[in-house]
């Protein structure tokens, strides 16, 4: 398991500032979809009973239904849990030195990347749509020096606050880095 108190390559004075996950609301459509899927075997039972009265009177037919419905439920449950894992295991950790991105891709894929805060040039938060505005969650884009690819925090809660804090941390870290004679100071946060 991941131990937050022992992140690989951490410094003695490194502190976790944010531990971020996608907003819980992202899981609502998945749970609603699961509930709809759950209703299907029950609906099939009642439709068959209505269309073909007496179909379930024989034990063999009812057994056939139990075989199908139980397997259908098990795979639907597995699908729901895998979606939950996809949400639960996608994490972004912001420390006072760096940003660590740990992403679960499907069941077998897992990517881990990190970005030093002194490399951060621009942080943009984005909240689009009615639901995102109501629940205050959205995307943060982090542009780094010398890289075209942007780092993204997807569907996290309070993106404006997080973006502001990341900019502040990046500014502090950039000044520290400059003092060590490594680079020029960037724009103020």
């Amino acid at each position: 398991m991941i131990d937050l108190s022992n992140i690989p390559g951490s410094r003695p004075d490194e502190q976790t500032i944010f531990f971020l996950r996608r907003h819980w609301f992202v899981m609502i459509p998945v749970i609603l979809g699961f509930l709809v899927v759950l209703i299907l075997p029950v609906a099939v039972y009642y439709i068959i009973r209505a269309q073909i009265p007496g179909y379930f009177d024989t034990d063999a037919n009812f057994t056939l239904y139990v075989l199908g419905a139980s397997m259908f439920f098990l795979y639907a449950w597995l699908f729901l849990f895998q979606n939950f894992i996809d949400w639960y295991l996608d994490i972004w950790i912001v420390t006072n030195y760096r940003i660590i991105n740990i992403e679960q891709v499907g069941l077998f894929g897992r990517t881990m990347s990190e970005l030093m805060l002194y490399n951060v040039q621009d942080v943009t938060s984005e909240i689009n749509g009615f639901i995102r505005t109501i629940f205050d969650y959205g995307v943060i884009h982090i542009q780094t020096a010398g890289e075209t690819k942007r780092f993204e925090f997807e569907e996290i809660a309070h993106p404006n606050h997080v973006a502001k804090r990341v900019l502040e941390l990046a500014h502090v870290r950039r000044i520290e880095h400059m003092r060590q004679g490594n680079m020029e100071i960037g724009p103020a946060a």
Partner: protein, 96 residues
């Protein structure tokens, strides 16, 4: 008519594939999840529901006569699949 036992074999094969995916899912969760109550609780709930469904189905299957046969196509719809023009046990004369 298809023997009911064939469906049980298919069910067991699907259960085996399901078990394989469950195993990988649990490994991913316990290896990469954060140590904490929520991780353990959600994993326990996931496993508990599976055990309940498999045990519940298994207990029901213990009473089933697997030598019995089942007709997938209902009697009333058999005429659609080349089973003759029999509807409700009555031969229907189709005028030519």
């Amino acid at each position: 008519m298809v023997p009911l036992g064939y469906f049980l074999i298919a069910w067991l094969i699907l259960l085996g594939i399901f078990a394989f995916f469950v195993l990988f899912t649990l490994i991913q969760m316990l290896r990469h999840g954060l140590p904490g109550m929520f991780t353990y609780l959600s994993t326990f709930l996931f496993v508990a529901v599976i055990v309940l469904v498999v045990l519940g189905s298994g207990l029901y299957f213990l009473q089933v006569d697997w030598n019995d046969s089942v007709s997938i196509i209902p009697e009333s719809l058999r005429y659609l699949f080349g089973g003759g023009n029999v509807v409700n046990d009555t031969v229907v004369d189709i005028p030519l």
